[in-house]
Symmetry: C2
Subunit: 341 residues, 2 copies
DNA sequence: TAATTTAAGGTTATCGGTAACATTATTTCA
DNA sequence: TGAAATAATGTTACCGATAACCTTAAATTA
């Protein structure tokens, strides 16, 4: 590997001069600058980021941790974060925790070991608390995305989950649905809790009774085993006429399970959910959804993070909480109750 | 930041002893080991990856560069790469080039500067050659995914693009289509070239004439400006009855443009493409596609990469080329010609 | 013209680890 | 019982960069 010393030797200058040329610091004559540049090109020199960061005590590296890299919500969010990072001159790397607290912890270790300047995290859930506290203890600035973690103060960008759930239920109710079920993510995830709350409030406002057996709390991540959903569907009696899904992955799994049992959507069952299905929902608009502004989650989150990084030292700045609105897109996955077979 | 020296001082041993405890090397008495461990926990010590890599001359870090993080093909591929990396004990980080050679070059610089042990790359295209050669020159092992780059020998995992294109055209032909158009990625991308070749061969085999105006070569990446597709549609006369899209993104854009012009799919135009739309195509199976084994691209690619890394030093090992089959999934986006309005 | 400034560059120490080579008790064995 | 082996730890140098300080010659200024 070519080092600064190889360049220095070949150019007949000291290593420090090479360093100055690389970083455009200090005073260097045009002649030496040109010579050093030529030697660097000749030898294909690439600065060693680690050596540099070691002495500078900063890496210019930021991380984005998401929980599901195959979910369009998170990948669109990633684009937003990426664009903002570029704007501020940071490099951004991605990690994927798969909704798995252990994997997430591994990434946090990598991040700490890499001495990243900051992190954007969509936490796997409340049990993420310990490793987020570790980040805090090591003074790594971070911003939470999409989910809060009780007991941890921080900047955060959230969607209006409660309002979103209310809108979905209201919409179903307006189509005459009175038996509305909810399949939700783990209660250890803040957004899932708020969606449940919004669901219950909306039921009440629409004079609908809350029936515990109509609620299934499972995992937001995709899984091959659908038996939990199957037994839930069997348990409910009478079957609901509509299902609210806590996110797009759950909606897909519910619909798949319904199809397996010969129940057609929306003819026999209406389904709505949080989060859109990416650009692909445009070709054959099917699911009625709360389309969260995924790109904005990433973009705004990155702005908050960069602010934190640049304010480092100043203490006691209040934590910022951005709540993005929940907009509903009505498509074909809901039919009016009177049309249900 | 807590260092090995802080631990050493507090535990009353030398830094080297701490290092030995961390890495489980050398001989350490149980007593000191326990003491050092306790101090590390007390101080929340995290090893500095950069310092370590600097002296070890290896980072245990691998990178995956993809060209479109919102494309389910690449995110599923990423999952495969991730699982395989974990199996082999490497850390994996992701980068997203957005089909943009410049961005890709930036990532390559980051990778070189980070001194990653290896890279998995889905190259943006033939113009990626210079920076891939830079990787080679710096002896960073890499494996290409999904696309080859002429003039560059390397391990590579490909899909059978030619065969896939043939299958799509054959399928359309079997439904009576005789005017079949192709919207494809840039001719500077190997997979796009092969898809065009397969398309032309299949036309010939089905006794269909090749009409240049029926082929549009554009970009594989999503874009907001659809005017190029619009003017292409206007140019073709008579309109084709079916369109083959070089990938899922193009299919989505074509269908969107068709809808804008009041042309319905599949009632008035059949559309097929390469690459599935992720799990979401299951809820409302619409597009007939060549479903490439995205997960396998990542998993096998990672295996090849790790082999290369571990063989480092041994020269002249032949390059490996894995070609994954192209399987067609027939869904609803094609109708028989006689039913076209 | 002597005293300062400035331009251009060099030296040394350091970032946080680890390899390689000591060192010192303590065992083990001939 | 003395020599050799081993266990447990310490010292030193180095990985590749940069900050802080130092040096020298040329250019300015009083």
């Amino acid at each position: 590997m070519v080092t600064i010393y190889d360049i220095a030797a070949k150019a007949g200058v000291s290593a420090m001069t090479v360093s100055r040329v690389i970083n455009n610091t200090g005073k260097i004559s045009e002649k030496t600058r040109a010579k050093v540049r030529r030697v660097m090109e000749d030898l294909n020199y690439v600065p060693n980021h680690m050596a540099r960061s070691l002495v500078l005590q900063q890496t210019n590296l930021l991380f984005l941790l998401i929980t599901d890299i195959t979910n369009p919500f998170y990948t669109t969010l990633a684009r937003g974060a990426e664009d903002a990072a570029k704007k501020y001159g940071y490099r951004l790397l991605f990690g994927n925790s798969d909704e798995n607290v252990e994997k997430e912890k591994d990434y946090v270790d990598t991040i700490l070991a890499t001495r990243a300047d900051g992190v954007l995290v969509a936490p796997a859930g409340d049990p993420s608390l310990p490793h987020l506290e570790t980040l805090r203890k090591h003074q790594v600035p971070f911003v939470l995305l999409d989910r809060e973690v009780p007991g941890l103060d921080s900047d955060v960008v959230l969607g209006d989950s409660k309002e979103g759930a209310r809108k979905l239920v209201d919409h179903l109710s307006s189509q005459g649905h009175r038996r509305i079920a909810l399949i939700n993510g783990s209660p250890y995830i803040s957004s899932a809790r708020l969606r449940l709350e919004g669901y219950r409030e909306a039921l009440k406002l629409n004079d609908l009774a809350y029936d515990e057996s109509y609620v299934l709390e499972t995992a937001f991540e995709p899984r091959s085993d659908l038996s939990e959903i199957e037994s839930w569907l069997e348990r409910m009696s009478p079957l609901p006429t509509a299902i609210v899904a806590g996110n797009n992955v759950l909606a897909v799994e519910v619909i798949r399970t319904l199809h397996d049992r010969g129940i057609r959507v929306p003819e026999q069952m209406s389904v709505v959910c949080f989060d859109d299905l990416g650009p692909y929902s445009e070709i054959d608009p099917f699911l009625t959804v709360i389309a969260q502004q995924a790109y904005q989650f990433g973009y705004l989150g990155m702005q908050l993070l960069v602010e934190r990084i640049q304010e480092r030292g100043e203490t006691g700045l209040p934590w910022k909480k951005v709540v993005l609105p929940a907009d509903m897109i009505v498509r074909r996955s809901v039919s009016a109750v009177e049309n249900i077979l």
